[in-house]
């Protein structure tokens, strides 16, 4: 089947992720949406690598996963700490600084 379809899927996932970031309040979920976007990128990479017939894309996908993992570590640490101090993981509550 036409690899382009995978790209459409990737784009779709990316958009869903982005939309999620904008819509959801829970920091964790927001973060998951970001992860979703990254995965969309991975899909795109793999697809392209298939289309171009070279391995770079797949290699990059692995890198991305690692980076995403690292991000999870840092991100969760931060989110958990703020959750413990505020008893809320809602990004809308984190609103001390504005204007």
């Amino acid at each position: 089947m036409n690899p382009a379809n995978y790209l459409y899927l990737a784009a779709l996932l990316f958009t869903i992720g982005a939309a999620g970031v904008l819509i959801r309040r829970n920091a964790i979920v927001v973060f998951m949406c970001v992860e979703l976007m990254l995965n969309a990128c991975n899909l795109a990479f793999v697809t392209f690598s298939r289309m171009h017939g070279n391995l770079d894309g797949q290699v990059i996908a692995f890198f991305t996963m690692v980076v995403a993992a690292a991000e999870v570590v840092v991100g969760l640490a931060i989110i958990v700490s703020i959750f413990r101090s505020r008893h809320s993981a809602s990004v809308d509550d984190a609103n001390l600084m504005k204007l």
């Binding site: 927001v30 289309m51 070279n54 640490a77």
Partner: protein, 551 residues
């Protein structure tokens, strides 16, 4: 190429084993990467120190380690430059992953020096009142502890200190060193993450106002991740267009000089991939630069983060990010100039104006500086747009000048304190010039440099970029820039008025007497500001020599 052969190549993807021998052993020029390697090495050692050295001596060990490491890295860098890697012997190292050339070396040098000074501000322990007979720095006793909770109190009593900040700083520096030197998009992305993640954590570690600090971290983190997702997707698209992520590769595809494969032939059919990819990668970088409309994280994060961290971030991140942006635009996309220049024009103008305008009504020093940094990003973009050697060198110079002014300014901010820690609300700064003329005068110097008053580095830099822009035919941009700097001048002046012309409040903040560490940091800031303002020739030459990217 015949269909059968195509099929064969496709087949080879499914059976990876025979391809294994096709992957050559990577060949790394360790000598030429030594600055980066040293920094990362020191960072790693720093982690070990955290693990094994007793708490008492950690602080000393970490500081010493960091200072030595950075100094060594800088020495190595100088050695490289001396060998001529900045000019004649500039080339791509590490299998095309990292470029060793003028701009890279110049920016890395700047970052290293900034980091060195930043270490001093990180290590400052005289400003906060002593807790249980121990000097404390501006970082949380225990990052994980709940603010104001028993655990934290216990940690303070036990005299915990977050010496992890130094390894974190070193990791960030390492990432920043690679960022402007990255010569393929993957390295770019990884480097970005490598220096972003430590910064996220550093933001969360303020000793005072921990809630704000954590909030800053969350905001920075989420938005940073969001933006890096864009960057990554952009990379993906560019890869899809060119079939490679190496700068030179993509550039040659764009120029049409690459040898065409059928895949390329098909993918280069639609420029949409290229254009959207280009746009999204640029966005990723503009976010780090803090350009409008990707700037909104800046004020909040600058305000919430521990001031030393803010200073470092504001200075070093900008340097690294602009370096990367320059390389991307000058190496990968020169052929696309006519596509991205107009967009950049727009971004630059909006950034200059919005940054300056919003700053007018700010009431918090750190937020004020944040917005001013946004405006400055706009000015620098004007130089970026020049797209000639002149533009490169002017931007390099501007970055060097700007970063030290920023560092110094934030260092001064750490000095003005009252019971609640740093007194960052402008109203508290009233009459500072009467109480401690010296500090106020120093801060005034920095403000004047920001405002671009002649005889300061700020003016030299501003003139350099504007002049480059003008020669690049962007006169309108120069005029907008000039107008917005007039607006910007207003709020810098406002602070000066506040400090010198208004009577000090009775309960006004006191100016803490810093240890030699912060003093050095500030002194360096002032010195650089004046030297680059009065006798910039040498550094201009340097930037000029360093103005050529290797492809």
């Amino acid at each position: 190429m015949s269909a059968s052969a195509r099929a064969a190549s496709v087949h080879s993807l499914w059976t990876a084993a025979p391809a294994a021998d096709k992957i050559p052993a990577p060949h790394i020029e360790y000598a030429q990467l030594s600055p980066v390697l040293i920094v990362f090495g020191v960072a790693a050692v720093g982690v070990l120190v955290e693990a094994f050295v007793p708490r008492r001596s950690r602080y000393t060990a970490q500081v010493g380690l960091a200072v030595v490491g950075l100094a060594a890295a800088f020495a190595a860098l100088i050695a490289l430059a001396e060998k001529g890697y900045g000019t004649t012997k500039a080339h791509i190292a590490a299998m095309g992953a990292v470029a060793v050339d003028g701009p890279a070396l110049f920016l890395q040098g700047t970052i290293l020096l900034v980091a060195l000074v930043a270490v001093f501000t990180f290590a400052e322990r005289r400003l906060d009142p002593m807790a249980h007979g121990r000097h404390v720095d501006s970082f949380a006793a225990q990052g994980s502890a709940v603010p104001g909770g028993d655990q934290e109190r216990a940690a303070v009593r036990a005299g915990f200190t977050t010496t992890e900040v130094f390894p974190l700083l070193m990791f960030a520096v390492g990432g920043m060193l690679i960022f402007p030197a990255a010569n393929d998009l993957l390295t770019l992305f990884v480097a970005l993450e490598v220096f972003s993640l430590p910064l996220y954590i550093l933001c969360a570690l303020a000793r005072r106002n921990r809630l704000m600090s954590q909030e800053a971290a969350v905001k920075y983190f989420l938005l940073g991740a969001f933006s890096s997702a864009f960057l990554l997707f952009g990379i993906a698209l560019l890869y899809g267009y060119a079939g490679t992520v190496s700068y030179s590769g993509i550039a040659s595809v764009i120029d049409g000089t690459a040898k065409t494969t059928p895949a390329l032939a098909s993918s280069t059919q639609n420029d949409a991939l290229l254009l959207i990819g280009l746009a999204m990668v640029t966005v990723g970088l503009l976010f780090k630069v803090g350009a409008v409309p990707f700037h909104m994280w800046t004020p909040d994060v600058y305000q919430g983060a521990p001031t030393p961290v803010t200073g470092f971030m504001a200075a070093a991140t900008k340097v690294a990010a602009f370096g990367a942006l320059l390389r991307l635009l000058y190496v990968v996309l020169p052929g696309m100039r006519w596509d991205w220049r107009p967009v950049m024009w727009g971004v630059a103008i909006v950034t200059m104006v919005i940054g300056a305008v919003i700053a007018v009504t700010q009431t918090d020093v750190k937020r004020l500086l944040a917005y001013s940094s946004i405006a400055h990003a706009g000015f620098i973009l004007a130089g970026v747009i020049a797209t000639d050697r002149n533009g490169v060198s002017s931007v390099l110079f501007y970055l060097a000048a700007y970063s030290f002014v920023t560092l110094g300014a934030f260092a001064v901010v750490t000095l003005v304190r009252d019971a609640g820690g740093e007194a960052t609300h402008l109203s508290r700064w009233a009459g500072l010039g009467r109480r401690s003329p010296l500090v106020a005068a120093v801060f005034a110097v920095f403000l004047l440099a920001f405002a671009g008053i002649p005889l300061t580095s700020g003016f030299a830099g501003k003139f350099a970029v504007f002049q480059a822009a003008a020669q690049g035919g962007a006169m309108p941009l120069v005029i907008v820039g000039v107008i917005s700097s007039a607006i910007a001048a207003f709020f810098y002046i406002r602070v000066i008025v506040l400090m010198f012309f208004s009577e000090p409040k009775a309960d006004g903040p006191s100016v803490a007497v810093p240890s030699p560490l912060t003093s050095t940091a500030i002194a360096v800031g002032v010195a650089v500001t004046l030297v680059l303002g009065l006798a910039p020739q040498y550094f201009l030459d340097l930037a000029d020599k360093a103005g050529v990217f290797v492809r």
